[in-house]
Symmetry: C2
Subunit: 612 residues, 2 copies
Amino acid sequence: MSELHRERTKRLRAAMKEAGIDVYLIPTADFHNSEYAAEYFHTREFFSGFTGSAGTLVVTQEEAGLWTDGRYFIQAAKELEGSGILLMRMGEPGVPEIREYLAETIHEGQVLGFDGRCVPCSEGMALSKLMRGKGASLRTDRDLAEGIWIDRPALPSHPVEILEDDYSGEDIEEKLTRLREAFHAEGAAAYIDSKLDSIMWLLNMRGADVTCNPVALCHILVDDRNVYLFIQEQEVTNELRAYAALHRITILPYDDLEAFLGIYDYRGDVLYDPGCISYSIYHNASKGIAGKAGGYTLTAGSSPLEKFKSVKNETEMNNLRECYKRDSAALCRFIQWVTGEMKKPEGERKRITESDAAFYLDNLRAGLPDYRDLSFSTISAYGPNAAMMHYEAVPGVSDAELKPEGMLLVDSGGQYLTGTTDVTRTIALGPVTEEMKKHYTLTAVSNLQLMGAVFIEGCTGANLDILAREPMWKEGLDYKCGTGHGIGYYLGVHESPPSIRWKVFPGRQDAPMEPGMIVSDEPGVYLEGKYGIRIETILEVVEHTVNEWGRFLSFEPLTLVPFDRNLIEPAYLTPETKALLNEYHERVRIELAPLLNAEEALWLEEQTKPLS
Amino acid sequence: MSELHRERTKRLRAAMKEAGIDVYLIPTADFHNSEYAAEYFHTREFFSGFTGSAGTLVVTQEEAGLWTDGRYFIQAAKELEGSGILLMRMGEPGVPEIREYLAETIHEGQVLGFDGRCVPCSEGMALSKLMRGKGASLRTDRDLAEGIWIDRPALPSHPVEILEDDYSGEDIEEKLTRLREAFHAEGAAAYIDSKLDSIMWLLNMRGADVTCNPVALCHILVDDRNVYLFIQEQEVTNELRAYAALHRITILPYDDLEAFLGIYDYRGDVLYDPGCISYSIYHNASKGIAGKAGGYTLTAGSSPLEKFKSVKNETEMNNLRECYKRDSAALCRFIQWVTGEMKKPEGERKRITESDAAFYLDNLRAGLPDYRDLSFSTISAYGPNAAMMHYEAVPGVSDAELKPEGMLLVDSGGQYLTGTTDVTRTIALGPVTEEMKKHYTLTAVSNLQLMGAVFIEGCTGANLDILAREPMWKEGLDYKCGTGHGIGYYLGVHESPPSIRWKVFPGRQDAPMEPGMIVSDEPGVYLEGKYGIRIETILEVVEHTVNEWGRFLSFEPLTLVPFDRNLIEPAYLTPETKALLNEYHERVRIELAPLLNAEEALWLEEQTKPLS
């Protein structure tokens, strides 16, 4: 592929020259700052060949660099080989941040270009300031992939569905009331948002425009009288039309938002979150305002919807608990099957590859009630492949055969009407080394220490992260990613603002943990060329105690899948973590047994016996 | 006292009326945002009667409130009784923050007053913004204590001393070079600072203007050519004059800074840290700039000196290690004495009060080499008095007699040419309850878990705090203060920026831990009316491992004083914490034995025997 990508970069450079752009930046993003974007938006992948879910390509006439984070170092190095594009390992010593690189590279009078619709307002403003400081300028009205990417997929447009109250747990009118109260409290009279999962949550609506993400491409503007929904005509069903009429939602064409902002005649501040609208929207709205007397003004703040959607209501929580039980049972069924197959003698054993295993599991999930989709492409990674955090087996390209030895890492999840799941277990397929057992047990201890945390109200993930990392750090190990992320309700599998990571990004206020939030707990050990271990359990934040010292919170596990006892080396368990593991296993046994057949239940019994 | 304070508040209200001030705010501060201020500045104490080291008094014509933090809730409630001043317990549910209270209380057209010299620039700017938003205004040029506080002590002025290189470890010229590089890196051409410990550190100078704090009242302005030092004439010795001449330091009168800023003719930005100069300086400099064409401008940033002084150099660290050993030996001597006295039968036992015990210990310290002063008034608190975190025994007022039962908490430290010490131990004087043992052991576990931490470079105290708190939180307990603070070198006993606390204050960037920083580790249990427990050990940040995963740091204890085995209940120790305690005790025994006499060494041997 590398020759093809060299040719594409060459054409990009020609287009840059024509457009008067000296440095061109291609982020991994759609018009909505989504984590996962429809194929139409895979411009960075088109030019670089790097398929990971996060990365930014920066191209000049002389050089090209791809910035990505620790999850993708191994994969990106492989995929970029021979492309002439330099891998910039973010966070490693000596690797400049993108802005540092731009500051060094761009000279007075030069032009930095990017598609302003694909860059969040906050980032665009920072780049604009950086350029001003250098006497350079921005050009943000050109998507240079146009004309080069001939067979580019169309912008997706699928009919939307309305989520019933039994699933959403809160009526759209109540949600709108809360939103209006929130923007009034910020002194604003209206609110604009392009973040897809926030809009879906607010309108109790789901779409199908992004694989594994039940969202529809759209924007909203909410004021005291109206909700304006900007959405593609093809997505509007009769159901949505009726629903819109009932709730005073005005449906307008998807592309019309920027033009609408030019004629929107409203007195007061329009609140926006610089992370939730694109630089292009901000830039055009600002130009519109500057050209007129009166009308609205813009005011930056935090999206109230980000916070709202992260705290699940009772209906959502009840649905989620049942959903996770069924989803966990499917994974148990899978583990029992794959370990069972591996126990068979050489001749009787079927040939099973990584993708076969993923396919088997995906089919089990698809048979569950309320199933709609996977929540991401199942990661089924055997042996050294598991060292790549986001490896994807592709038949014919990279698809290792499972053998009755070593470890298989499976990270998977589903989208159900009753919630979004995400779970990782690492499974011994046969004999394992002492080092594997040590690292698996350390990962288990990390996972359990966080799961067993008790913490005072107000704590953020930055306060909690060390509970998971300390066992690793004491052994001189680390995993180069966060420990946990928030998860949507039948929405994105990664949902901000909750997160568990020690690093605090300047200007980014982490959300304190609150009952009703759900977060992942996924420490791991990744040894390039050897193996990868991750144990991911989804946790619900609950109230633990309220007394004269304050309100204490703790976690309850939603994921109920046993740890692999063949990989546990008791010498590395502390008495506390052993007790936590036994407690967790007992809970798994009690909750899941009713969902399994006799043979599976027997397997579960065996897996969850107390360790002594 | 309460009648007296009612009368003082009455006079304050009259003065407010005369000055056209509706709400008057009295912080606990000098002109330098110092934590401890000379008596001249004890205005808040004068009006309220509250003697704690932190608190803000807000007075209107109708009401008066004193805001203070958890360390002082018990003490303040006692001292404010009958004064008519409401105690505002900061951080408690339902208690408004000061700014919230002001926002609610002050109406359009009203005036908020405070002495602008006693309020840091950052705080004054926030209050100014708050008032503008309400259509109210500020008056900051009046100190209303003048005329009411008749017998106010004079502004202190003591001769300064120059610290030799054997103690400072870095020449003033090297420090000035580092400072100039740092402000150039921020795009500035000069630097202004009023923070006393920062100035002392930079100039290798020490003063005696504040009890227990070897600082001299002064301000500095440093540009590429000159250092301007604003200091009282009485403080300038011949030694300082010669030193100043040698290092191009221009000595100017203490009060002249604001006038100087009006005539200072310099091209370029003057860097200031909004936490390190007063609102008054900022306000007057800004007015000066506005009234002129050309000249300098002001630019806000972080004080480079704050960071510099927190990372101790090799000379400082070597001195500190020796200093802490000797200081620890003195405390061991004290513990052996007081516990020995308590073992004597009723008749033979001397009467020892809290203040007697403190006096005994203070005298032991005063006999140590390089001793200059205490680093704060020794806290010697017996029984329920120890529940007040900053209790001070005063003969004739509150000075409990020690009895051979329960616990004595002693928090103390010294100022030496070789460093500043701070240490707390809680000591059983005889039989103790099971609950005391449980709480002491939990405190020990908290202390040891933090001491034993291994963490990756970049972590701040907010990441580490939970290691100390988790054992408490799991038992539904908490201590309402930070876990740790930085400490100066023969400077302030509390030194920012390092701190260990879970709460992150918006806009305040915590400093990542770095080798050479020293921090306290002081968890505790405080039960009002019953007892208080605190174990405080000072830790040095050191490099632990560097490998492919990164650079890992850990702590080494500087304080070497045994924990009290009579208060340890092994059931609450984990195997890890027991191992950590035995390791610590072994280290104490090895390091301190050479500094003790035979009898003391025998006692130490007994105290530091491994727990099985």
